[in-house]
Symmetry: C2
């Protein structure tokens, strides 16, 4: 007979979403038992995976999220895999044969890398996705360690971050993307151009608007890639950075409704259509805050926000959610330059047929500019023409851009207008920020105001 384990709250999956759900649930409901079941003993910081390939981390052992973050809250962690659930009986069966009896069930099964079946060639031939488990990453790192020529497929964040790390680690790197430019989903053309210039200076070759036709192999060794236009690029290995999809095989098998992008459908409190069953993180369907469409944006920070809401709402709705949908807020670093984006880009807004006005300001991230370490800082805001509500923002700059994008994120979540930013009170300091006379968010808002106002006259 199989082991029976009884718990109040059962969480399937132990990435950031699952872990934060577990510890937060313990905080809201200290008397409830919480068990998190996941396959892997060790979980990695997902966003830091690219840095294992270069010298910034260099080793997967430096990228472990301590399980103590969960267990110290009083939640338990089991290393197993849930393979079946009976929603009526409220039981979940694990691969080990253990049967969990639960009151509340949370899917936090995450996502897995896209691997197009249409590409000729195979994994064994030296084509690798970027997995999120430690064994997978270690295997990949080992497989490419003594190879020199790399092709990265995909010009999103992960593709670019891995490309830069491999290049800085001494490899020859070619990045191939289908889009018009790098980071196209997050950045408008002028910001992508800046990023591409850094890649060029680093000696990374970039091929855009290119479709991959075939991976060329010689027995089990990659020799190159063939593009649809006939171009052939020699390489020793290929890394795919073409996105991730929700891991919802079990959920779909159980009949849970999924959204357009195959994420599990949830309401704003992360409840699925099945009573007492929730879903959070990459496996849950996401709506865009601005476009109201289902979006494929997956971010650890969004996942943890969902996890906190889910945990608070497991037994009672503890507080009213003040927003609905992902604002798609993220940042990255290319060389010593930070790029960040939130909301909707100008390109996407125009494609959505939105009547918008943009404002851009370029200044310095310290003041006066004669200070050492001063970097250019460019901020773009996108607003609706009517009301001038801020719906998007992009930054390139130094390290401080990483937190400045969170100022714009809050502006968007609060549906603030460009007008309300004109009298924004900000802290400015020579060694830390732009000058008060030229704080870029205010200046970009002024540019929007001026455009709207001069139209009205």
């Amino acid at each position: 007979m199989n082991e029976k384990i009884s718990t109040d709250i059962l969480i399937i999956g132990g990435g950031p979403a699952g872990m934060v759900t577990a510890s937060t649930a313990k905080s809201y409901y200290p008397n409830k038992e919480v068990i998190l079941v996941r396959k892997n003993k060790e979980a990695m910081v997902p966003c830091a995976i690219p840095y294992i390939f270069g010298d910034k981390l260099g080793d997967s052992s430096k990228n472990i999220v301590p399980a103590a973050k969960v267990t110290e809250s009083g939640a338990k962690m089991h290393f197993d895999e849930i393979v079946d659930v009976d929603f009526k009986a409220k039981t979940a069966t694990a691969a080990s044969g253990a049967v969990y009896e639960y009151d509340k069930l949370v899917f936090a099964t995450g996502s897995e890398p896209n691997i197009p079946c249409s590409i000729g060639g195979s994994q064994s031939c030296g084509v690798h996705a970027v997995p999120k488990d430690r064994d997978g990453i270690d295997a990949l790192k080992k497989a490419v360690e003594d190879k020199q020529k790399a092709v990265i497929i995909g010009t999103g964040f992960i593709g670019i971050e891995v490309a830069v790390e491999l290049k800085e680690h001494g490899k020859e790197v070619v990045v191939i993307g289908e889009q018009d430019r790098v980071l196209q989903n997050a950045l408008d053309a002028e910001f992508s151009a800046e990023a591409e210039e850094i890649l060029a200076v680093k000696g990374i070759k970039l091929i855009k608007n290119a479709k991959l036709k075939e991976i060329l192999c010689n027995t089990d060794k990659t020799t190159g890639v063939l593009l649809e236009n006939g171009e052939k690029i020699d390489t020793d290995f290929v890394i795919l950075g073409i996105g991730y999809h929700p891991q919802t095989e079990l959920a779909q098998k159980l009949g849970l409704r999924v959204g357009k992008k195959k994420g599990i459908w949830v309401d704003e409190y992360m409840r699925t259509e099945e009573k007492d069953v929730f879903a959070v993180g990459d496996c849950a369907s996401k709506q865009h805050f601005i476009t109201r469409k289902t979006t494929g944006v997956m971010l650890a920070s969004t996942s943890t926000a969902e996890a906190r809401i889910c945990a608070a709402s497991l037994y009672k709705i503890e507080y009213i959610k003040g927003f609905s949908g992902t604002i798609a807020i993220f940042s990255t670093m290319i060389g010593d330059r930070a790029f960040a984006s939130v909301g909707i880009t100008e390109e996407e807004a125009l494609a959505e047929n939105m009547d918008i006005v943009t404002g851009t300001f370029e200044g310095m991230d310290k003041h006066p500019a004669s200070l050492a370490g001063c970097q250019k800082q460019k901020v773009k805001l996108i607003a609706t023409r009517r009301g001038a509500t801020i719906i998007g923002g992009q930054i390139s700059g130094g390290i401080s851009a990483g937190e400045m994008i969170n100022v714009i994120g809050l502006i968007i979540e609060n549906k603030m207008s460009a007008y309300s930013l004109l009298h924004l009170q900000v802290a400015t300091h020579p060694l830390l920020t732009a000058a008060p006379t030229a704080y870029p968010i205010i200046k970009a808002a002024e540019a929007i105001d001026k455009k709207i106002y001069s139209c009205q006259n």
Copy 2:
């Protein structure tokens, strides 16, 4: 006969407040003539003055705000001094004898350093305030250049910043303050303690709770300072960093009403009680956003916010101000550590008899912590017990603290509650920010929530 100069808008004073008023007025009212009158040909970045004493700037020539910021907007700049105004005739007389006819008048006369008359000794004896004009700073720098022992009076931002610069430049430095700890107006005890530790490691001697009795002189040479407790400290020069007061001599002579701290009284659109006369920046009275009291906080960033509102409101109220009063938002750097504060401190809130709850979280400013350059990051939030409205925040951390305090500033200006921060969406990136699972503003809000919630059960 004296020269008559006719203009629509006349601005008295050319620091950040005057300059931003001038250029913004030209933007709102391009057909109006704007003249800014100020004494000095060159204006300095006020917050960067301490860095002239050390190696970060090293020379006042590197700290000039370009006059082009005003003149390129189409506003004119005259180098003169307004010595009298006739509000009825709408004329202003300059020291040169020129008479300006204006339609709208803006006082932006700034502030000047406090020099207590009660202290024995004199300027000529080697006691220096920190002036904001270039000639004054150059003279001060020259006067102390070949002297070794420095005493700084005052433990506010300017005192501490100048102390660190002088110490790093090789001088022996003693800082003497009347308060219990450094930066007491902005930081609570645990943050001050951290700052004091850095000063100690740097070898700066700190004497707290100490009142200065007398400056000891030998003919025209400073030899030391005598404290009220009888302690004597040898020194070659003394720098006063004990605050600034509004420069409102002319305004008071003209009968303009001033507030408790001697700033010119203004409403929320920066209008004085005299028709068509405005005041902005350090010379204008300020109300605290939280305590509603008149406050002596003077910040260039607040000044420029006021300047933008004033400029927009000169002829018509162009937009409704969404806040009232200064949120006292500022930041500084001590060594490689940033300190920042906004709103009200816990100490001040308790002194105001406010029923508050605080939440603190300490983490890292990058993730995982194994990344190079990772620094500790501590965030404290102060909230009302009822409603958990955020009314204050403090940060110590790396460079990114400079923009993170602006996230908290926006939270305070928008009167957001700790509950609304629990599902805050933030951008996180290994090289730029804390982990999404441990973003400090969210975690500090959780701590507040938990304290309030556990009281209710």
